[in-house]
Symmetry: C2
Subunit: 647 residues, 2 copies
């Protein structure tokens, strides 16, 4: 039976004809209305709530709704099905702020000193001159081109797509038997013993314009942010750097929510399209900056975690979620842009870098490459803290890795007043140890809206050092400040009174929030411990700690150590590297030796599955304290606790 679903709201007036039992979320999709589903449609986040103003629906779950909400007609769009004609009010959606953390600093990227296009690059632009046909030489166009390539470049076994064959005759004649060809020599140069075919990517009539760039791009698909660097392969220079939120965010904020959403009917295809839209949008933006056309981009190297890679390629990711946590493919074959859906040159080669396991993806192998961990002489720790914390310990001789399900607490999720590091986020907090009054810094200035990851680390550290929370995370209600009080979720500390905030409501951190943060930092620290134990090297012995990910760029090391997120070492041993993933993709894009090195890194990395490791749970519970059960592991924090300084 068909029902009419009418959607109303600010600038919203649409209807859809749907059968009984269709989800409101799907009905909205049909009506062309976008309702965000941050948890991927699991009914867990409550952020897709809409109000039923007329008609009947059936709620499968009201987990995130109070009885009063339900009485007022609220229902979760992802959990509620249509049972008759209904009218639905769609409240204003949370908007994703357009100010990205990665836009805060765009550092100039240095071309590797020894980059030499003709030696390092597998994609080449060449001029081919053909003998024109005559009555005495009626060779077909394709054989004629092959002959010329053999004579001029000693290229044997050249292949090209049907699309190029379709254009071949016109191109040869328009260029008067001169063509500028772009060829992919990867099989020959990288020594495929079994496949040494040379692929023609592009053919244009006439001579090669020696002075024009040869465009390619390095792409990092983060769960939250997609980054694209537009590169001229001739000079090796990065000519544009752009970043944008991953369009999949509206369908799940973490990888698990995405996998769940992708497993639904049509969900995988929708997520694929969303990330392609993001990437293709970035490609347009980057090309505009340098006055190029996306169709001129002839090569792309892609990194991202394993889930992002699967979703990009439309490969089901469901098995990543379930024990024994298997990916469909860790090292996808090199494909064409046409196959992948990239709006670059359709025959551009798209090289998705290899990952290691379900939760240690190509973003980490690329990070190891660009951080140089795999060539380090001393034992080095590499961490990339995002929604998950991926850790690699090793040197030029060995590499071990693991992934900790830290959860998205440090990205502002799972914390009542948490938010991403965008405009209005409190990014640093100082608390006066006597008055317990805070000072804070807000991204972009102005009134605060919430607290981002670096702000939470800073806040937790200050609250701990000033005694507002104890080592177990309890809020001390006797601390003697009106800012410390009993709230709806237990004890809480008010960072900003309603009068100062954008929403008019107090910004607080509660006992529940602290617990979530403790679990997140404990998971990461336990990862360090297990890896160090596995190879029998004390964590303190690591020579350097390399922190990747844009998150790492903004945290205060001292405070991250004080809460026990990072190991307690001399600051000089920490290095913050920013987006190591896109940088690794860039190196692999430029130089085939670097590209082969990524494959080598992926092969060398020994993956430790923490959920199968008996010592992990113990290490985790030991780390559920501030900074740790064993204070001897944090000598500097111990001394700070003994000699508190006044803020």
């Amino acid at each position: 039976m068909q029902h009419t679903v009418t959607f109303t709201g600010e600038n919203i007036n649409a209807t859809a004809q749907v059968p009984t039992n269709m989800l409101l979320a799907d009905a909205a999709h049909l009506a062309g209305i976008d309702i965000g589903q941050p948890c991927g449609g699991q009914g867990r986040c409550g952020r897709c709530a809409v109000q039923v103003t007329e008609g009947n629906v059936r709620r499968r779950s009201t987990l995130r709704l109070s009885p009063v909400d339900v009485e007022q007609g609220y229902a979760l769009a992802c959990q509620t099905v249509v049972e008759g004609d209904v009218t639905i009010y769609v409240p204003p959606q949370e908007r994703i702020e357009r100010r990205l953390t990665t836009d805060r600093i765009v550092a100039e990227v240095t071309v590797p000193a020894d980059y030499e296009y003709l030696q390092d690059q597998t994609v080449r632009r060449i001029h081919v001159q053909l003998t024109p046909p005559s009555m005495d030489d009626q060779t077909d166009d394709w054989s004629r081109l092959q002959t010329a390539l053999r004579a001029q470049y000693r290229y044997e076994n050249v292949t090209c797509s049907l699309g190029l064959l379709q254009r071949l005759g016109d191109v040869l004649r328009e260029g008067d038997w001169n063509v500028a060809a772009v060829v992919d020599l990867a099989n020959v140069i990288q020594g495929g013993e079994t496949n040494r075919a040379i692929r023609i990517i592009d053919l244009q009539p006439g001579l090669v314009d020696e002075y024009s760039p040869l465009w390619a791009c390095a792409i990092d698909i983060g769960t939250t942010t997609v980054t694209l660097w537009l590169v001229d392969l001739i000079s090796g220079q990065v000519k544009a750097q752009v970043a944008e939120y991953n369009g999949q965010i509206a369908r799940g904020e973490d990888v698990i929510s995405r996998i769940i959403y992708a497993s639904k009917n049509g969900g995988g295809e929708e997520l694929r399209q969303r990330v392609l839209d993001t990437i293709n949008g970035l490609l347009v933006t980057a090309c505009k900056r340098v006055k190029a056309q996306p169709e001129h981009v002839v090569k792309a190297t892609v990194t991202g975690n394993s889930t992002m890679m699967h979703l990009l390629l439309g490969i089901p990711a469901a098995s990543i979620r379930y024990s024994p946590f298997i990916t469909a493919v860790n090292h996808p074959p090199v494909m064409t842009a046409r196959e992948v859906g990239l709006n670059s040159h359709p025959e551009a080669s798209v090289d998705c870098l290899p990952g290691v396991a379900s939760y240690v993806g190509a973003d980490i192998t690329a990070g190891v490459l660009s951080s140089g961990l795999d060539t380090a002489e001393q034992v080095t720790l590499f961490i990339d803290v995002g929604t998950n914390g991926e850790i690699v310990l090793g040197n030029r001789d060995w590499l071990v890795t693991c992934a900790c399900s830290a959860g998205p607490a440090f990205e502002g999720a799972g914390v009542a007043n948490g938010m991403r590091a965008t405009q209005g986020a409190i990014e640093e907090v100082w608390i006066n140890s006597e008055t317990l009054e805070p000072t804070y810094r807000v991204i972009g200035g102005g009134k605060p809206k919430g607290i981002c990851g670096s702000g939470l680390i800073s806040l937790l550290s200050e609250a701990f050092l000033t005694g507002i929370v104890d080592k177990a995370g309890n809020v001390d209600l006797t601390a003697g400040s009106s800012r410390v009080r009993e709230g709806a979720h237990g004890g809480e500390y008010v960072i900003a009174w309603g009068a100062e905030t954008m929403s008019g409501e107090d910004i607080v951190i509660s006992r529940v929030d602290v617990d979530n943060l403790l679990r997140a930092k404990a998971a990461i620290y336990a990862g360090f411990s297990v890896l160090a134990d596995t190879v029998g090297i004390p964590l303190e012995m690591t020579d350097k700690v390399l922190v990747g990910g844009s998150f790492g760029k903004y945290i205060n090391v001292e405070k991250a150590v004080q809460i026990g997120l990072l190991p307690d070492m001399d600051w000089s041993r920490f290095e913050f590297l920013g987006n190591t993933s896109v940088k690794g993709a860039y190196y692999a894009l430029l130089d085939w030796r670097e590209r082969d090195r990524v494959t080598e890194i992926a092969k060398r990395m020994t993956y430790i599955e923490l959920s199968a490791d008996n010592s992990f749970y113990e290490a985790f519970t030991s780390a559920l304290f501030l900074p740790h059960t064993d204070l001897s592991k944090f000598p500097n924090v111990e001394s700070a606790l003994k000699n508190p300084t006044k803020a």
Copy 2:
């Protein structure tokens, strides 16, 4: 400016909004009305004439219309543009009869005696058993499959499409880590020195069903007829043979008309779609007969003349038409059905056999293969008479070839009462030498509609032997029969009076028709002469004459010799082989050695361009007589002329 074009006619009532100067043919297309354009829209055949009943049009050409026609509003749809609102009457279109010559006999095809699937076939169906994953073995699905293929079959460097990667995880789990794989070993077996990659075509969960067929097909794309044989690769047997008119006929009856149509805006894409529709329709029909699904077909081998091959692949064919007559590609790379547009298994390999030149295509190389010419000990002549006559002369040591633009006279075109060899066609004629009264046989019995190729040969021979036409083709008006008379196009002979015919009008052959037939047969015979001269071997010395093409199946050798179409030799030296092209495709489909042999044949064949050969014109003019200027070349005909028998 937009105009409304209204189409009327039997079961026709449609309109289109079109801009000024749009062709009526294009307007009809927009309105969803199909108006045939047998000459490809050149304004030459006059068969797209429609009647303008209201409004203004502009006629670019009225070549095929009389002043009276124009006065009555007739206009050629392919040559007339809209200048205002108009109403167009579309007369009933010529219908293509659904009775194909190839349906007249479907001979059982014998599987080559030594066919051995496991030795000859490059496509194999194998069972693969994988080790299930566990916490101790978290290898990704794709690596796991590669490992199993290496362990069980020593397959290195296996590739698969993104589409298969997308299905991989589900297939492996559904089959409980057992899969039936179809793999393409062509690169390994056929010894690509530069590419030895093995391609996975299909993966299905579970065990291999040893008793089910492994489907493939051989396809011959004729200008007129498309033939498809459905083959079980395990047994090698042809399980179904189907044929259908090439859907492109409505847009041109010969290759030149097709090339012209394809060169128009969107014409190439339309022709591509039309032939794909024909092939995909045949695939459905053939599969239905054996209760298979088109998606189960995993391999296809395709032959056809060079123009047909270009149009199938959407490759512009324009350069074929102009001196120096160059194809874009003689030997297309092996492609997938997905790329080509075949509705078989999307990853099926589609192998278009190699041709030699613009007018000697894969149909001829395949014909040489299946006729065995390339292994003959004695000098042998192979001819395939269709719209063009392609000729190969040679033996196991050498092969020379040429193409004669015979024109479509023997397919019934260019002759006033000519028609294809379908229901209602006069296919054989006998004339009483005293009364000059004819007897004739009609395909399918019943009243005659016209005369097909074999009927024309028979008729011309009888008319010549009975003196109705002389050796120069003049009709003898003094012959003394009411059937010989002066007609609109000069002297003519009436084969059937209006009272006996389907249309009620006389069926005649005129002086003009005879001239067209003379030119056609002279072109072919001149081809023989030039080839024989090129290698310095008298035509009479050829050991055998192998006649390919379904046309050859129905002609009367004696009469073809009498008009000088075929060389005058003992009948025992002629062999009529039917569709040698599809048979060659079938052999190449089954056995990789035969497939390699086709490539070898294409390389060995020396192409003689007749239009650049000085001796051709002389040979042609000498052959413009019945049977030839030099009667000594036709000793049997000479003696028949001296001793006429009574019919």
